[in-house]
Subunit: 151 residues, 2 copies
């Protein structure tokens, strides 16, 4: 039941990953270890924004006004020369990867997603990533199609 | 630049909101006050899952095995007769709504989204909801299309 989601490697170019999320309007990408292919993290779009937006603007969004039309160049510049590894929170601060085996039931998937407060769930067996699941996809599986409630 | 996202009212049927998220594969819906139309919260799909999955399964996903094929009926049953208001965290625990005015710049939107750790940003002027923005949409706006980095 998992959906395909592109994977990127820890040492891939950060701007490449950001563009992948942007152009394909993805909630995020799965980050795998370049050597083993083992999934190590999910990089959500919001984490890339966190990296792009200067800290003083995060603290006080009204300061965003100091940004002018060159914004797009500045955003790309902040990613250039960086790797995906540098976009992720430091390893010691990384939360447990929301991941289930290929044979997990829908309710088990939902439980893991809820417990880890993750918007995405990686479905993988060992180093083989099958895809990801979103909350809305799980709801679609869990709720009987015929029952749409009172109109 | 905001995208259309269905709104539901606080007193709408919970199963209706859940089905809306499921069938249209939405990251969530904007919840408005039935009287004024003022946006009061975002209901993410993950919050609906939190409501559906029994607490003991959230704590120990391996207990999901006690669920059998009747799962779908059980999930719908847990929502039946509830309102959207009951799906939301209690008002005292609700986090600040991630919202910007219609004239906010993209970097300002990104700053608010990052500060409030919200995957969705409501764009509204007073009681008029214009739509929502996702992180990937903001990245698309913030990153210059021509620059996709080294292949």
């Amino acid at each position: 039941m998992a959906e395909d989601l592109p994977t990127v490697r820890l040492d891939d170019d950060a701007l490449h990953a950001a563009n992948l999320i942007a152009r394909r309007r993805l909630p995020g990408v799965v980050v795998v270890d370049g050597g083993s292919g083992r999934p190590v993290a999910v990089l959500p779009g919001s984490q890339v924004l966190r990296f792009i937006v200067p800290y003083y603007v995060q603290e006080d969004p009204s300061l965003a006004a100091v940004f002018d039309e060159r914004t797009a160049d500045q955003c790309a510049a902040s990613l250039r020369g960086q790797t995906v590894r540098e976009l992720l929170p430091h390893e010691s601060k990384r939360t447990e990867l929301a991941m289930v085996d290929g044979d997990a039931t829908a309710i088990e998937c939902a439980a893991v997603m809820v417990r880890l407060r993750s918007p995405l769930l990686v479905v993988a067996d060992g180093d083989t990533v099958h895809g990801v699941l979103t909350a809305s996809h799980l709801l679609e599986i869990l709720l009987p199609a015929a029952d749409s409630g009172p109109a």
